[in-house]
Symmetry: C2
Subunit: 257 residues, 2 copies
DNA sequence: CGCGCACTTGAAGCCAATCAAATCGGGTGG
DNA sequence: CCACCCGATTTGATTGGCTTCAAGTGCGCG
């Protein structure tokens, strides 16, 4: 929900280099962006918004921010002020263990929301790192809260989004708690595939924006194991990979794993 | 948040058997219960509620329901109508894999909320099973939504609760993704310990309400492994166990694991 | 061109799962 | 009250899957 994109870019790096990327702390750009004309809108705001709702919402989402590959949108313990919608690019969110090991909580594509973890304590409890040069819409939380009191549709949407995050995390726990390495990787690819499809890309062929290690940190396994599973799927004719390029050859077989 | 208990019972089974337990689908009892006089209130509604807020909230939480040990409060795909606050007793929430393996998503003690997963699709995405004879406060979601539009404090509280659930699940993912069996069990005991303490019980000595298998399904391991870790901690003088009774002897050592 | 980083692949080791058996404990019926 | 039963738990022996360690390859970029 809540994203805006006026550029129909390739969901990879930001399309034209309209401005030099800023380093943190970055000033947000105030170029007029509009949800009403955003190409991510269908992914971002699943219907139900009336025209006046949309107009009001446009008003509070007046800024965007560019985040360079590898940079943080926010970090653990940063004070919570806004949630973000990915306009273009992609992010990972990560929680760190004291010993340095990290668990990737999620990968976030264009049209998805980031930062809801901060509502609880008013501080973020994870790091959000850009996997590529990316841009986000900034949604100041106090304004969102305020608008929720005024618009029933928006309130419902916010609650639904939060609940969706809870459900998403539940199924990741299922994956981490009960599945074999092979099943985890298959599951991961299928999940990415359907999300790519929902964004209008081919579900069978796309680019992985994260490293094997990041996938491993997401799936609860080592990068070598991820690599081995990719090789195995390739041997068995389920996928074809070349580095970060992936082509899903036999989606049904992948589902049966 | 949102629990009520007028009986200061032993956080285990329901205190006096005031009524025969009903089987599902159960009619909710309409005995007058009040958040304002609820012993779980501090755990349930972390301050910030004005007197009028509280009164209004009392009005929508007018019913409770008894759930017998082993029975479901709701099941996956049940239509979502209410969220629940545990008044007395305890629950597990579970998601099932197609092959029958199950992942326990959480254990819920008195004063904790259940059912937020249902907001997303208007159907529950997990089963909630009572670990012992328990009772819950029923909070009809449509009324809650409505009241959220009227009370800023309540709206904030609901959003915070949801966010808290997201954060809680994140740290469980961290556990499942990165920790050894030993660390998982230690972590689990410490977590329970602090929650018992928050409820006014001894943090060092309490009853485990779930079986070894349920702990294993929560921690992503087999019941035998859970048992072995308990034995190991006992050998090393960190805890003493006798069946479901547990006494934490060396909490610092447990934290260092 | 060559450096560094990401990735692949092989071999060995280890932790947790599996299989198996014994014990405990609570509840029941004789 | 006691014998018995069944589920829960503990413990041991073995297996297997994933990690660890190590070496080598591929590739983008300065």
């Amino acid at each position: 929900m809540f994203t805006e994109t006026d550029c129909a870019d390739e969901h990879c790096a930001l399309s034209p280099p309209q401005a030099a990327y800023q380093s943190r702390p970055a000033k947000a750009s105030r170029t007029q962006v509009r949800c009403s004309s955003c190409s991510m809108r269908s992914a971002c705001m699943p219907s139900g918004f009336s025209a006046p709702d949309l107009t009001r919402f446009d008003a509070i989402v007046s800024a965007t921010r560019l985040v360079k590959r590898g940079d943080a949108l926010y970090r653990t313990n940063d004070p919570f002020q806004s949630i973000y919608a990915v306009r273009a690019g992609s992010f990972k969110t990560v929680v760190m263990h004291r010993d340095g090991r990290e668990q990737v909580i999620g990968f976030h594509l264009a049209g998805e929301v980031l930062g809801l973890d901060g509502v609880y304590t008013e501080h973020h409890s994870s790091d959000a790192i850009a996997l590529e040069d990316s841009s986000v819409c900034i949604i100041p939380y106090v304004l969102l809260e305020q608008m929720c009191a005024e618009s029933k549709a928006l309130q419902q949407q916010v609650l639904r989004t939060m609940s969706g995050e809870i459900v998403r995390e539940s199924s990741l726990m299922m994956l981490l708690g009960t599945m074999s390495a092979e099943q985890r990787v298959a599951n991961f690819l299928l999940n990415l595939s359907s999300r790519m499809q929902a964004r209008g890309y081919s579900p069978n062929e796309f680019n992985l924006r994260m490293t094997r290690e990041e996938m491993g940190n997401y799936l609860g396994m080592k990068l070598e194991t991820v690599s081995r599973m990719f090789s195995k799927f390739q041997r068995d004719g389920l996928v074809q990979t070349r580095g970060k390029q992936i082509r899903i050859v036999d989606i049904e077989a992948l589902e049966r794993v």
